[in-house]
Symmetry: C2
Subunit: 303 residues, 2 copies
Amino acid sequence: MTAVAEILAAGDVGAYLETLESTLAQSVARDGGVVADVGSDVLAAGGKRLRPLLVYLTAPPESAPPVAAGVAVELVHMASLVHDDLIDGAAFRRGRASAWSRYGPEVARAAGDYLFARAFAELAEQGDIHGLAVLADACLCLARGEALQRTQAHDPDVTVQAYLERCALKTGKLFEAACVLGSRDARLAGYGLSLGIAFQIADDILDCTGDALETGKVSGTDLREGTPTLPLLLAARQDAAVRAALLGGPLDGVLISVARSGALERSRRLADRYAQRARDALDGHPRRDDLAALTYAVVDRQR
Amino acid sequence: MTAVAEILAAGDVGAYLETLESTLAQSVARDGGVVADVGSDVLAAGGKRLRPLLVYLTAPPESAPPVAAGVAVELVHMASLVHDDLIDGAAFRRGRASAWSRYGPEVARAAGDYLFARAFAELAEQGDIHGLAVLADACLCLARGEALQRTQAHDPDVTVQAYLERCALKTGKLFEAACVLGSRDARLAGYGLSLGIAFQIADDILDCTGDALETGKVSGTDLREGTPTLPLLLAARQDAAVRAALLGGPLDGVLISVARSGALERSRRLADRYAQRARDALDGHPRRDDLAALTYAVVDRQR
């Protein structure tokens, strides 16, 4: 994500992200015990901190950078990763042992709940009632999106519309929340939501193509789990082997069929359209250029 | 719980609990989808609604009954049950198929997250920043208590002090939150915390003695899972078979050894002490009698 690297190179945002990192570390460690250890581990594994970056970039440049809001959205994201890995049985996350494989499912479950609660506690401490309402709504959507992913599993007839709804719930709404928490301006909601959907489509393309060394994840996970992502859905429409694989059939050679079908390019075009839609929502924003650069970066990223 | 039945027979609290039940139903169903279905199922399975009852009883009698706070604490309790059953692999809850065994682990995980988020959304809608801070703190403690239970598992040398800390985190703090949310008076915190600890000790005794038909749970669960509850810890100090069972050894006849050891009576005495401590915190409360009756009821209950 070169464009993101450029944004990060700017002095102010660097200072913000440093403060964010140390505040996150304090937040997860605060109540002690094994859940705090898990939280610190997840934090140390790193991440793009894309959601706090959105909080920062959408905030009015003249006001104090909203650290608590950035911490809260990243905590919710971390909580969802811990619970995702637990339920998916994923042994690794970002090249490290995942929380559940290291500490066991009970602790991972508790740690995920703890990180969610810490997110709300951060905003409650600020007396930020508007932020709490926005965050609760995003968490509700996140949970609904995860459940939707499950009900759509192994179904090659999921419509593109239903897939996009899942992306909006699972990813878009937390991006949206980050932008609303930063800007306190409902007009930025559309930017966040479209950016999140573009991000998720790009993620789903990477899962079909990505190199495990670069992405830190084993590719083909969606196919193995029968998650009907956009590239898999589009390919399944014209390739019986892809369709059969989504239904639970053999997986050998299926990612090659997906690549040959042109589904990756068509998925990319839809990601680009959502990125464009995000840019269209930026009219007159003081950090328009940085926010627009991000829309290109999330689609072009290699990890 | 005869005393509870008597309290419930009083007109006002009956009206409150009816309103609570319908508001809970609306709350869980609100965002639709499979997570709402799970929430409605969990709700329909019933429960004592003890935490909302605490909200009601601790609230000033002259003010409007705090429905949103009652809904929020019960949603957190429901969320924790859904996640508990998922992690424990419990196939049944209150005589019905548990959420995860009916809908699968992914949906159960999402439904638990959804119920947590709905609890925060309820208070956020009321603009209740104090309530949100109290609830977030209780959720943090709940998560820490669950993790502590895991780290104490299969350890017969857990001290009574460490066991009581676990009870306070896992159960006491949400009882405390219910009382603080109802009364908005920190003086009621001690009542709720002590009552919750007494309740948990009674629960742990019931797990050693309870009839599955009456409790709706299979007894001996703690022993099978190696959870060092007070009766098991006390019995293990004088009976090598109980100690070995906690460490993972054979379970046959162990509950009989626990009963013979006198550990149940000693546990009961400690529960009574916490119930007394709860009563001692009630000085001058307008609903002192009802709240005191509850302290006897939680220790005497058969389920």
